[in-house]
């Protein structure tokens, strides 16, 4: 009885955060303005002084890392800092979003999101699918459809099917991963018992979701789906139950074929499957597709709230290093968003605008909230206020590509046509891939291990692949300079994209002067110190 009561309360709480549309700012208001309206209001209410806006050099570094996955070249920084154009930030954002690097970097991030255990290096086909999807700005609901429906007979969407294919042997994992990736809901706790803390999730929800996915199987290298099949499970209390297709909101689907097939039907099916195998084609689709039903119900009316809020929360996390709801897979009534109205508005906005992720991204990074500084001299305010920008550890690809750029003579990037420059940058990315595979993908509560510090301190690859001093390299250029002070300024600028401070120039030139007669070695050590220090390792 008491449980029932709690459950009802929980549902009420959930309703209370489903903010009524009438209370929200108008749909026509630009995304950045709505973000700043809510973020600033909460900061003011908390009586906190937010960090000031980041300077131009910091902002272009942050934007370039976030949008295209690398540090900017010094020429890009200089041009941006020098420009007096009032629209320069918007222009920069639009240029970066339109560049091929955006599709590659975002695809890498999506890949890591869908396959967190793969350290960002899953099957090439899925990544390629995501690159194309980002390139053509495929709507998020379309990506969802293509991933879940997994049509392998269409070459264009075949890569998307890898998500399901990779989880075929484990329907529980498939169920949870679909739920986490697309709805921000981790239902795994409810597999063995009703969720102990969250009354929204019961075993019925877990098995209800599993029913949509468990009929999928492999038939001679092609994904197939049965038109029948049930799941029975033993609840912690009471008799065994037969699961019913049910979405997270409790919306159930009536399945006309929930009964098991007769021996005759089984035989017919087997023949059809053998035929498909022999013909090397996909098995016939069922009349009633459970996965199809999942897509249908998940995007229908209020049910779509999970879908829309999840992608908003994930994109918010991508640019602000924390979600409006944390952890990202715990969207439920007992884990309220930091800014419920903002989340509701953004979710409504993304759904109303055809799940256009470029538009959402642009809106997020053009807000003042995004461009705050990351330094806060006194005790920093509650991080939920987004009053100070958070540090983001670079991903393996960001780090390796950025290392390659910092190690390349900045002159190599100057005076190039945009296509040529793009090509050079893509080469830098390619050149860094091997090294990137040695670095850990940051996840929740990420901590850098001593393994990385040892790799950078004593690994041959950093020296051989990045810190070389031939023609066209940063160190090669440094060798042509006369004064250690000049070298110090040059190296700091190349690594950090900003002018060196007096202290830095003194420390570095002092270091070099102590190594008279072997300056080239000294320069290499200085560049090592610069790129291993936190100012390089993090997006700030």
């Amino acid at each position: 009885m008491r449980l029932r009561l709690l459950f009802t309360t929980a549902l009420c709480a959930f309703t209370s955060i489903t903010v009524s549309a009438a209370d929200l700012p108008p749909a026509s208001k630009p995304i950045p303005q709505v973000i700043d309206q809510y973020i600033d209001a909460a900061i003011a209410e908390a009586g906190v002084t937010p960090a000031g806006q980041a300077d131009d050099a910091t902002l272009i570094r942050r934007l370039t890392l976030d949008l295209v996955g690398r540090i900017p070249t010094t020429a890009e920084v200089d041009e941006y800092v020098k420009s007096t154009d009032a629209n320069k930030r918007t222009q920069l954002v639009d240029r970066l979003i339109a560049s091929p690097g955006f599709a590659r970097h975002q695809a890498t991030l999506f890949e890591a999101m869908f396959n967190p255990e793969g350290n960002g290096r899953g099957s090439g086909a899925f990544r390629q699918y995501m690159v194309e999807a980002v390139k053509e700005n495929k709507p998020w609901d379309k990506i969802f459809r293509e991933v879940v429906l997994a049509n392998e007979s269409d070459a264009k969407t075949k890569g998307a099917a890898e998500f399901i294919r990779g989880r075929l042997s484990d329907a529980d994992k498939l169920t949870n991963d679909v739920s986490v990736s697309f709805f921000g809901v981790n239902v795994s706790c409810a597999q063995c018992h009703n969720h102990p803390l969250v009354h929204d999730w019961t075993q019925d929800h877990f098995y209800g979701m599993k029913m949509f996915l468990a009929r999928t199987f492999d038939n001679g290298g092609f994904l197939g789906e049965r038109g029948y099949g049930t799941i029975k499970y033993k609840p912690t209390k009471g008799p065994e139950r037969t699961a019913k297709m049910m979405f997270l909101t409790g919306a159930a689907i009536e399945d006309p074929n929930s009964k098991e097939p007769t021996a005759e039907e089984m035989k017919k099916e087997k023949e059809a499957l053998e035929k498909a195998k022999a013909a090397k084609t996909a098995p016939p689709a069922p009349k009633f597709s459970a996965r199809g039903k999942l897509v249908e119900v998940a995007l229908k009316d209020v049910n779509a709230d999970f879908f829309a809020k999840n992608i908003v929360n994930r994109m918010w996390h991508r640019y602000f290093a924390a979600g409006l709801v944390n952890p990202l897979d715990q969207m439920h009534s007992e884990n309220q968003p930091s800014h419920p109205e903002l989340l509701a508005w953004l979710a409504r906005d993304v759904a109303a605008n055809g799940y256009d992720l470029k538009r959402l991204t642009r809106g997020l990074v053009l807000s003042k909230a995004y461009s705050r500084g990351s330094k806060y001299e006194s005790s920093p305010p509650d991080s939920k206020l987004f009053a100070v920008a958070r540090l983001k550890p670079m991903t393996p690809n960001q780090l390796a590509t950025s290392l390659k750029i910092a190690a390349t003579d900045p002159a190599a990037f100057v005076g190039k046509k945009p296509e040529e420059l793009e090509k050079l940058l893509e080469q830098a990315e390619q050149a860094g891939r091997g090294f990137a595979s040695l670095i850990s993908q940051p996840g929740e509560n990420f901590q850098i291990g001593v393994g990385e510090a040892l790799l950078f301190s004593n690994g041959e690859r950093l020296t051989k692949e990045f810190l070389t001093d031939g023609n066209g390299t940063t160190l090669g250029r440094a060798k042509t300079m006369k004064e250690p002070k000049e070298v110090a300024e040059f190296l700091v600028k190349t690594a950090y994209g900003r002018a060196a401070t007096t202290d830095e120039v003194n420390a570095i030139s002092g270091y070099v002067e102590k190594r008279k007669g072997r300056e080239a070695e000294a320069y290499r050590q200085v560049l090592w110190a610069l790129v291993t220090s936190p100012e390089f390792r993090f997006s700030y």
Binding site: P380, L391, N445, V450, S457, G459, A529, T532, P534, E535
Partner: protein
């Protein structure tokens, strides 16, 4: 999501800051990460626990050693095989005749004979037996080494927290060390190609002085950036670099030739023996957890020849290790565990082999808070099933944690979800704890 304090209340961050101010810039990295680990390392906190720092050597018998040819012989039974059982220094306890040296040392060791772990597949059983439970769809659990690195390692430690040797090829990819949700900070130093860790040695193209001063320059250049910024990840990077020189200095620990010839002769010349000796050197220097993997136990054919060859080596190495630790007064602080992914079938197959068997097999625990000479668990006459005192992976782990002074019910947090060290409701086996 910062991990910070468990409840995340503002009081904690306040104290943290006060602590930071009081101890000055030198301890920034220490103070900014108040995980349990660092709390242990910080002055005045839990001195008692620190004093009795425990360590573990896991002898991982990869592929599945036979309980019948080691710690649970069934001589005379149709499943017993050709070897006899012999008396030990513990009245009433018999083990295989292949282990005469251990037979003289059973008073230090506890045998768990009632393991029923349900899983006979190498890959997933290795995952279960290294973690005390199966991974879930949404939770990748840290393995024993990572948990102990977290619980018993020190933030400023000059030695690695978790070292694993696995040089043989059989089954290696199935049982890599894994920090699971604890992340890279607690990931093992894996030695798979040689007894010498990767990247522990400075490259030839830089002198030791330059290596050191380069690292000082790095720290100096980072100061300006760190001021006014705090994050768990930022602290972890500084901590990691601070540990590099210390860990490099521990290089010699991995060099078995540093050990007197007399000691090396005691252990013997095999790879397993050498790695076990290195493990002893490591735990002596404060490494909380070392796993020595010894493979090729997967005797589907010619089980008896295999065990006739391999058990005496295990017997000798394990006995030598016990003696060595005892001589050094370390047996109360160092635990030796023998464990596999599973045992082997009592029934003997057509190739005179024994197959995978997870229903009734054995593990041993020696040292620390374990009752030496105890036997827990009983299998039937043929060894087909556990008839009393059954143990699963969870209760084995709870027992190990409890013996080490770690509360098995302690929670980690994965996001907002509390995850205890062992699954809820699982208890340590009190009968084998001192």
């Amino acid at each position: 999501m910062p991990r910070s304090s468990h409840c995340g209340s503002p009081e904690h961050s306040l104290n943290r800051r006060a602590f930071l101010g009081a101890t000055g810039a030198a301890s920034v990295s220490l103070a900014a990460d108040m995980t349990q680990l660092n709390a242990l390392a910080s002055p005045g906190v839990n001195d008692a626990l620190k004093k009795t720092q425990k360590r573990v050597i896991l002898l991982w018998l990869a592929g599945g050693a036979s309980q019948l040819e080691t710690f649970d012989p069934k001589p005379g039974a149709s499943t017993g095989g050709p070897f006899r059982a012999i008396k030990t220094d513990v009245p009433g306890v018999m083990i295989s005749e292949l282990m005469p040296k251990m037979a003289q040392r059973m008073k230090h060791t506890c045998i768990l004979r009632g393991l029923d772990t349900k899983n006979g597949d190498h890959g997933s059983a290795a995952i279960t037996m290294m973690r005390g439970r199966r991974n879930e769809a949404a939770v990748r659990y840290p393995d024993l080494g990572a948990v102990l690195a977290r619980e018993m390692g020190r933030a400023d430690s000059k030695v690695p927290d978790y070292v694993t040797f696995y040089t043989q090829t059989e089954g290696r990819s199935m049982a890599p060390g894994d920090a699971g949700f604890l992340g890279a900070r607690y990931a093992p130093m894996e030695l798979t190609n040689s007894n010498y860790p990767e990247f522990i040695k400075r490259l030839a193209d830089i002198s030791d002085l330059d290596h050191k001063e380069r690292s000082d320059l790095r720290e100096l250049l980072g100061k300006q950036f760190v001021a006014g910024r705090s994050s768990e990840t930022l602290s972890s990077q500084n901590e990691a670099y601070e540990r590099v020189r210390g860990i490099m200095a521990s290089e010699k620990l991995f060099d078995v030739t540093q050990e007197p010839q007399k000691v090396r002769d005691r252990y013997g010349p095999t790879q397993f023996a050498e790695q076990t000796l290195i493990a002893r050197r490591l735990v002596e220097a404060g490494v909380p957890f070392v796993r020595v993997g010894r493979a090729w136990w997967d005797s589907h054919g010619q089980n008896f020849e295999t065990h006739q060859e391999m058990v005496p080596e295990l017997d000798h190495v394990m006995a030598t290790l016990i003696d060595d630790l005892k001589d050094r007064g370390m047996l109360d602080d160092v635990m030796i565990v023998t464990l596999s992914e599973f045992g082997r079938t009592p029934s003997i197959n057509a190739s005179l082999g024994r197959d995978h068997f997870a229903s009734a097999w054995s593990s041993t625990i020696t040292g620390c808070g374990i009752k030496g000479g105890s036997v827990y668990g009983k299998t039937d006459d043929k060894g087909n099933k556990v008839v009393a005192e059954q143990v699963d992976a969870g209760s084995l782990f709870a027992t190990i944690y409890e013996a080490l002074g770690i509360n098995p019910e302690k929670n980690y947090y994965v996001g907002s979800r509390p995850v205890p060290l062992v699954n809820p409701g699982i208890q340590a086996i009190k009968q084998v704890l001192k």
